[in-house]
Symmetry: D2
C-alpha cells in the first residue's frame, strides 16, 4: 500500500502513520519526494485496509498495491475450478447452457419449457419462484409452490435446477428443492445472504450487481468462499450505463478479465444483459468466443403470455436456433456442449 501525504506534511506528521504500520507487524517505508511525502506499507493488504490510513487528516490518498480478494484469485489458486450443479460440471472444457423461464408460472408451463430446453441439449433448468420486482404491483412469484414445481421438473426430465434466493431466511427452504442457489444482481451485496449461502452445501450462482465493479464482484464471491463454500460460479448479466437502446450493457470485457484474475467459472446471462430478444443469440455467440464457461438464457413457449420479462425470452424456435448458432463457435474454442 502506498500512502500519499498532503502538501505541507512533514516527517513529524508522518510518524504516527509509520508507527501504526509497524505496530500492525508490517514494514513501513518513508519516501520523501519533491512535492509530496509518500509512505510505503509492505505486507498483507487486508491488514493494511483495516488500518484505515485514509482517515488520517494528513493523508491525501491511499493506493493499494494488491487486490483485496485472495481466496478467489488465480494467484492463490492458479488452476481453473470446476463446480458441479447436480451431475453437470460447470467449467473445464464444457460450455454449459442453462435455460428456462424467468418465472415459474405453473407445472404445465414449466414442463413444456423444460422439454424445449432438454431437447435442445441444454444442461440445467432455471426458473424463479421468489421474484424481486421493481414494482410492488408486479407478479411476485409462486414462492414455495414454485419450488415444488422445480423439483417435479427435475424428476421428470433429469435436469438439475437453479433458482434465485432473495433472503437469508429462505436459504434452508430452497436448499431442499433445487441443485443450485442463485444470488441475483440486486442482492450481490446482501452480505447476510452471502454468508448464509457460504455456510450451505449447495453451489452458488453469483450474479454481478447492476453497478458492481469487477473487484466488488470478486469480494462478494470471497464472502461466500470465506465461509467455507467453495462452489461459486460467477455470472456477468449486464451493467447499468447511460445507453438506453439496450436494457443493460453486457460487459464481456469483464468476463475476459474475470477469467484471467479468478479461478472460478464465469457464466454470461445474455437475456438480462441485453433485455432485447433479438440480441440474445449474437451475444451468446460472443460469450462463447470470449471464453465464458456457459450461458443462462430465458426462454418461454409463449413469451407473449409470460408473467415477467417476456420481452427478452426466446421462443422455442429461437432457442433451437441459439444452440445451432453457438455450436460451431463452441467447437472453434475447443470445447463441447
Amino acid at each position: 500500500m502506498i500512502v500519499v501525504l498532503k502538501p505541507g506534511a512533514t516527517k513529524q506528521s508522518a510518524q504516527p502513520l509509520l508507527n501504526k504500520i509497524d505496530a500492525a507487524g508490517l514494514k513501513s517505508l518513508y519516501l520523501p519526494g519533491v512535492e509530496r511525502i509518500v509512505l510505503g506499507a509492505i505486507g498483507d493488504e487486508r491488514i493494511l485496509a483495516s488500518l484505515n490510513l485514509d482517515a488520517d487528516p494528513m493523508v491525501e490518498s491511499v493506493k493499494p498495491i494488491l487486490s483485496p480478494y485472495k481466496l478467489v484469485s488465480r494467484e492463490a489458486h492458479p488452476s481453473s475450478s470446476i463446480v458441479k450443479i447436480g451431475n453437470t460440471e460447470v467449467g473445464g472444457d464444457t460450455f454449459t447452457v442453462i435455460g428456462g423461464p424467468c418465472s415459474i408460472e405453473s407445472l404445465n408451463q414449466s414442463l413444456d419449457i423444460a422439454r424445449v430446453v432438454k431437447d435442445a441439449g441444454s444442461h440445467v433448468f432455471r426458473g424463479g419462484a421468489f421474484k424481486p420486482r421493481t414494482s410492488p404491483y408486479a407478479f411476485q412469484g409462486l414462492g414455495e409452490e414454485g419450488l415444488k414445481i422445480l423439483r417435479k421438473v427435475s424428476q421428470h426430465t433429469g435436469l438439475p435446477t437453479v433458482t434465485e434466493v432473495v433472503d437469508a431466511g429462505d436459504v434452508g427452504l430452497i436448499t431442499e428443492y433445487v441443485d443450485c442457489l442463485q444470488i441475483g444482481a440486486r442482492n450481490m451485496q446482501n452480505y447476510r445472504l452471502l454468508k448464509e449461502v457460504g455456510q450451505g452445501r449447495k453451489p452458488v450462482l453469483l450474479k454481478r450487481g447492476l453497478s458492481a465493479t469487477l473487484e466488488e464482484t470478486l469480494l462478494a464471491a470471497e464472502y461466500i468462499y470465506h465461509e467455507g463454500n467453495h462452489q461459486v460460479i460467477l455470472c456477468e448479466r449486464g451493467i447499468r450505463t447511460y445507453e438506453t437502446a439496450t436494457r443493460n450493457t453486457l460487459d464481456l470485457n469483464g468476463v475476459a478479465w474475470l477469467k484471467q484474475r479468478s479461478h472460478l467459472p464465469v457464466l454470461v446471462d445474455p437475456s438480462h444483459g441485453t433485455g432485447v430478444r433479438e440480441l440474445v443469440i449474437p451475444m451468446s455467440r460472443a460469450a462463447v468466443a470470449v471464453g465464458a464457461d456457459g450461458i443462462i438464457v430465458e426462454t418461454h413457449t409463449n413469451p407473449a403470455e409470460a408473467l415477467s420479462d417476456g420481452h427478452q425470452a426466446l421462443t422455442e424456435v429461437m432457442y433451437q436456433e441459439l444452440i445451432k448458432e453457438i455450436m460451431p463457435i463452441v467447437h472453434a474454442m475447443g470445447k463441447k456442449l
Copy 2:
C-alpha cells in the same frame, strides 16, 4: 400506455393486443401511422404494466404515459408529508440535521460524538450497528451490542436515534432499540426487507440505491407505503458515475425532482455523497439551498481511529463549522434549524 408495433404489423396482428387491453377493462385505441401502427391503452398504468404487452413479438416498444408509483406521488397527495423521528419532525419548515459516526464502536466513543452533535444543535443521532461492508475482512459492526449503546446514548442525551437494518429478520430486534430504521443503498431493492419495515411501526429512512433511478427509488418507497407504513423519508446519498475524483456523484437534481414529484421528505447524505471530508460542508450548503429537508452527516471525535469511513467523517471543529455555514442558508430558505 402507448404500444408501437414493428414494421410489417397489420391490423390483424394488432387485434390480440387490442383484445387483451379491452379484456382488462381498459380502453384501447387503434392508431395507424405512415410507417408504424401505434396502439393506445387508456387506464390504470399498474394494470397495463401487468399485461406485459412488451413481450409480444409484434411489439417494438411500449411507452408508459403515467408514472408507475401512485401512493408516494404528489399527484395523489399534493401537500408535503411530515414524518416524526422520536419527537423531531422531518419535513415542513425545519431543516433537520442528523449526525453521528459511521459505526458504533463503544459507549464512550458514542457518547463523546453525541455530545458534539447535540451541542451543535442537531436533531438526531446516527450510528451503524450492523454494517454492510464490501470486504469480508472489514469491521462488520457490533450488532446487538451496538443497539444497546444507541439506546443508552438516547437516554443520556435525549436525542432520537437512527440505525441501519440489513436483513428482514432483524427488523423486530432493531425496532426495540431505535427511533428510525434506515434502509441502506445496497438494500434499496431488497423487497423482503422493504415489506417487513412496511409492516412495522417505526419511520423508515430509505436511501437511494447506488445506481437506482429516481423512479425506482419512488417504487421502493411505494413498497413500504403499500404495506401500510406511511412514515417514509427519502435520502439522496450519491450515485455511481464514471467520475472518480469523488466517491459518488451527489445528485441534487434528483433532490429537486423528488421534491416536485413526491410528498415525502427528502434528506441528503453529503458524507457518502462525496466521500471526501473537505467537500461535505459546501455540499451541505447546496443541499439546504436546493430545498432538501435535512442532512445526515458522519462525524467522529477522532476520525483517524474510526473503524470505518473515517476519511469522510467531519472532525468536531468541522462539524461546528458545518452548522455555522448552513445556518444563513437555512434562514435564506425561510426555514429554521
Copy 3:
C-alpha cells in the same frame, strides 16, 4: 410522435399544439385519457422534431415513435453496404483486420510494424499523424511528416492506410495521403468535421464517442451520409462507464444492435475498447462472433518504447496469436479473413 400534456391541461390548451401539427402538414390526434391528455402526430419524425413541441409549457413529455435517422437505417436500405478502403472491401463475407501503431513515430518503426501486419494477413495499415492527447505535455504526433510516412508504407507494402483527422481544416491535406479518414471518438460530434468529410471522396471510419448513445452515433453517420458521402464505416471502441478495471467498456451489445438497425459496416476496436493488452485477443474473438465486420488493433514491435498507448499495443508474437485465434471463429461465422 406522442405528446403527453401536464395534469390540468384542457382541450383548449391542447388546441395550439394540434394546430401546429396540422400546419406542418402532418396529421394530429386528440386522445383524452383518465389522468392525462395525449396528442398524436403522424408523419415524418424529422419534421415533428423541428416543431419543438416539448418546449410548450403545457407539455409534460414527448415520445418519438420513429428513429430520427433515416439514410443510414436498414429500414431505408435493407441490404448491407460494403465500403472499400483502397482495394479492400469492408462488409460482406470478409472479416477485415486493420493493424498498426497508435502513432506514426518514424519511417523505420512504421515499416517494421507494417511488415508484421501484412505478414499476418491483415488488410489495412493504421497509424496516427495528428494525435488528440488529453494532456498538453504528451506527444502530439508528427503531423504532415507522419502522413508522408503513411504514404511510403503503403507504397512499400501495398496495404491501404487509415489515419485520424482532427480538424475540418485538415481534411484536404489528409485526403491526399491516405485511403480512409478516421473520425476519432472525441470528434464524433464535431459537426463541422462531419460535414467536411461528408463532402469528400474518401471513405470515413467513424468511431463512436466515448459516451455517445447508439442513436447519436447513427445521427453522426447521417450527417456524413446526408452531405453525399455514402462510404461510412462505424466503429465501436468502448464506452465510459463506472468500471475502472478496464479503460473502457467495449459495448458488443451495441455492435449487434447497430448491425440490425443500420446497413453500414461495423468494426470493433478492442485496443481502446479494453485498454489492456491481455484482453485484446479474447475481445477480438468475441467481436468476430457477435457479427462485426472487422477489427482495428494497435500493435508495435517494441511497445515499451511506443510514444503513446504502448500499454494496449500487441507485441509481434501476440499479433500473430490474435490472427491464429480468430481464424476458426471467422470460419465458424461463415466468413473469410
Copy 4:
C-alpha cells in the same frame, strides 16, 4: 509515480525501468515487497508520464502521485483568479449571472430577451450563432448573421456577450464580434480549438465535456493556459449518467472540488445541467450555495416558439423569480450580484 511490477518480476527485469527513470533525470527507488516489486520515481509527473512506463510488459500498473495539470492548479497559484468579460468581473465576491436564448434567432427576439436579462440585473448576454446539433435535420444557427446581432445587442444594452465557437477556423471571426468565446461540452477535447483560443486574446468559457472527468477538464484548461491565454472560466453543465429523469446530472460535487483544486472561476449551467425548466431555479440556488462564481441560464420570451432547447428555457416571469430566489443565498454567501 509508483510502478507496480507483475508477479514473477525480478530485480533484473526491473533494471531497464530504473535506468529509464534515472536517464530522464529523475530519482528511482527499488522497493521489493512480499508479493510484488514496486518502483518509485520521484520528480516532475509530466516527464514521468512521457516515459510511458505502463507500456512495459513487466508493468502491472502505474499510480501517479501528483496531478498531471500544473498551471491551472491552486498549488501553483493559491489565490483565486478573476477573469473579465467586457467590464464584468467573473470570480471574486461577485456572483455573475449570464442569461439569454439558446440560439440567436433574430434581432427582435434577441433584443427582447436581452431586455429581460438586463432588467433583472444580469451581467452578460449569451446566445448561440453556430449551433452543434445532434441531428443534421435540426436548426444549425444563423452563423455570422447571428454574430452581427450579438454585437448590436451589446451596443443597445451595454451587456457584454458570450457565444460558442465550434471550429478552430472560426476563432478569428468570432473574436471580432463578442467579448467571450465559449467552448461547448462536445468540443472540450477538440485540442486544435483549445490551442487556437489559447493563442487568442479573448476570455474563454470552457464547458466540461459530457463525460469528462474533472481531471480531464483541468487538462483542457491547461491546454489553453499553456498557449498563453490565462483568461479561462470553467463551467459545469451536467454529466451523462444512467439517470434519465433529468437530461444530465449536474455535478455540484465537481464544482466544490474544482474550487478547491484550481484557481480558475467556476460557473454552473443549470439549464443544460437539468434539461428541465422546473429544476433550473432550485439548482441555481444550490449553485450559489456550493460556492460557484456564477450561472449561465437559458431564457426566452416565448419558449414554445424557440428554435432550440425551448423545453429548458425560463420564461420572463421565471427569470425574474430566479433572480429573486438566488438573491438571499448570494448574500448569505457574503457575495453580491
